[in-house]
Symmetry: C2
C-alpha cells in the first residue's frame, strides 16, 4: 500500500504556542510525516526550553523568522492572545497558510473579516483537550477520532482550506464545517459548560469538606471524572468564557434551572418526578456512545 | 511466597442481587480464590439467566436456600430494597455473616440497630461503581485501589468484621471506618452530587440542543467525562437521593450557589473574580491525583 504520507510533500510548519494543543499537534504531525521540520514560537522561556528538550520543535524562533520559513503557521495561544497574534502573522504572510485552533471563533473571525490577507487564514477548532497545559502536557495520544471544526470556510482560499483539512486528516480527525456563531453556541453546550460545572463542583466540595483526607480517600471514579476538568488552567479558560459570554450565560442559566428541578423534586419528595428527570437524562445514551 | 489465598479457607458466598456491584464482587472473589462457590439470589429472571451464563454465580437459589448454604451473604440490591432484604436475611442467619454494599448507610443502620442479630451484620460501602447496571455490567476491573467504608463497626461481631475486611482486601480495597451519619454526609459530596450535576448537565444539553448530530459530532472528552454518570440508572439513584435527602440538598444548595458565583462574575465581566474562582477550583489538584 502506498501511504498517503508518500504522496504528500512534507511542509515546514511553525507552531506559535507550544503548549497542550500546539505541542500535541507538533508531536503528531511529525510522527505522521506531515512535516519533518517544526519551528516553535514561544513567549514563556521555560516552555521554549521544554519544547526543544521534549523534541516538540526543532528550533525556537521569533515570530517573523518562523513565518518567513514556514508553509503552514499554527496559532495555538489562548484565545485572547490569538486576537492579536493571528493578525500579526497575517501581516507577514504571502503564500503561507495560517490556522488557529482556539475554542472560540466569533470574535476572532469578526476581527479578521476585513484583514486584507483574510483568505490565507483558516479558522478552526480541533475538539480535543485535557485538563493539563504547557509543553509537558503535549501528547501523541491526542485528536484521533474527534471532530475538527472549520468556521466560515468561504472566507478562506481553496488551497489554504485543503492544506488545513489535510493536516486534520493526518491527525485522525473528521471535519465539520459551520459558521463561527453556530460554533460558539454549540461549544458552549458541549465544552464550556462542562468546565464551569467542574470548577463549581470542585469549589462546592472544597468549601464544605474540611477533612481533606476523607475526600481523598472516598473519592471514587465518578467524582474524579466529573471534577477532572476543574484542574484546567485559568489562562486558557477566562478568555474563552469572556469571548463566549452570551452563549455561556445562556447555558449556565439553563443548567442552574435544571439543577433546581432536581432540588425541587427532592425537597418535595416527589420521587416520581425525580425518576422522570433521571430517565430523561439517560437519553444522553442515544447521543454519546 | 505463600499466597494469602492458600492460608485462608475458602468460604461459600451468596450474592443477593447479581448486578453491577454484586456481580463484580462475585467475579473477583472467585478469581482471587476467596471463594469457589457462589450462590446467586436474583428477582429479575433475565438477570438470573445472565448471571449463570456469564459465570457470575454457580447457581440461582431462593433467599432461604442461599442463606442456609452460605458463610457470607452479600446484599447488593438498591438501597430501598436493602432496608427489607438485610432484615430478612438476618432473620435467617445463625453463624453466618451478612454484609451490604449500598451507597447510603444511615437509614439502614438505624432500622437494624435493634435487630436481635445485628451483630452478624456489617454495614459497608465499597467506593466504586460505573454508570452501567445489571449482570452484563459486572466486571473484573472493579474495586481495586479504591476505599471500602465500614460503618458503625462497634455493632458488629469481631469475626464478622474480620471476614468482611478480609473480603475487601481480596478485592484490593483499603478500609476506612466511620459512623453511618458521617458516611452519608461525605458520600453526598464525593459521589451523590456528581450524579446530580451529570444528570442536570445532560438535561441542559438535551433541552437546548435540538441538532443532536452536532452534539454527537462535537462532544469531546471533557463533555463525555462530565456527563458520563448521566447514564446511571434511576432504580439505583432515586432511593439513594431519597435516603440521603438532607445531605444531598445541603450539597446541591452549595453547588447552585457556587455556580451563581461563576454566573455573576461572567455577567458583571469581573474577570479577576472569575480567575480567582477557577484558581480556587484548581486546588482540587491537591486532593485528587
Amino acid at each position: 500500500m502506498m501511504g498517503i504520507e508518500k504522496q504528500f510533500i512534507t511542509k515546514k510548519v511553525a507552531v506559535i504556542g507550544t503548549g497542550l494543543i500546539g505541542g500535541s499537534m507538533a508531536l503528531l504531525l511529525r510522527e505522521k510525516n506531515f512535516t519533518n521540520f517544526i519551528i516553535g514560537v514561544e513567549s514563556v522561556k521555560s516552555h521554549a526550553e521544554q519544547a526543544i528538550q521534549l523534541e516538540i520543535v526543532d528550533q525556537i524562533s521569533t515570530l517573523e523568522e518562523a513565518v518567513a520559513q514556514s508553509d503552514l503557521i499554527i496559532v495555538a495561544v489562548p484565545v485572547v492572545a490569538a486576537l492579536e497574534v493571528v493578525g500579526q502573522v497575517l501581516d507577514l504572510v504571502d503564500r503561507q497558510v495560517v490556522v488557529d485552533v482556539g475554542s472560540t471563533k466569533k470574535e476572532l473571525c469578526g476581527k479578521l473579516a476585513t484583514h486584507e490577507k483574510r483568505s490565507r487564514f483558516v479558522a478552526s477548532h480541533p475538539m480535543w483537550g485535557t485538563e493539563f497545559s504547557g509543553p509537558k502536557a503535549a501528547t501523541r495520544f491526542a485528536f484521533s477520532g474527534k471532530a475538527a471544526v472549520i468556521c466560515n470556510q468561504e472566507q478562506s482560499d481553496e488551497d489554504a482550506l485543503e492544506l488545513v483539512m489535510e493536516m486534520y486528516r493526518y491527525l485522525g480527525m473528521h471535519l465539520l464545517s459551520m459558521n463561527a456563531d453556530a460554533h460558539d453556541m454549540h461549544t458552549a453546550y458541549v465544552s464550556h459548560i462542562s468546565h464551569i460545572t467542574s470548577f463549581a463542583l470542585a469549589n462546592t466540595v472544597l468549601e464544605k469538606e474540611r477533612e481533606e483526607n476523607t475526600i481523598f480517600e472516598l473519592a471514587s471514579g465518578g467524582f474524579e471524572s466529573t471534577v477532572r476538568l476543574a484542574k484546567s488552567n485559568a489562562d486558557t479558560w477566562v478568555p474563552i468564557f469572556r469571548q463566549n459570554k452570551e452563549n455561556v450565560l445562556d447555558v449556565l442559566n439553563e443548567h442552574i434551572s435544571q439543577l433546581r428541578k432536581f432540588k425541587a423534586s427532592i425537597e418535595k419528595e416527589n420521587w416520581g418526578y425525580l425518576r422522570e428527570l433521571i430517565e430523561k437524562a439517560n437519553q444522553i445514551n442515544r447521543i454519546l456512545k
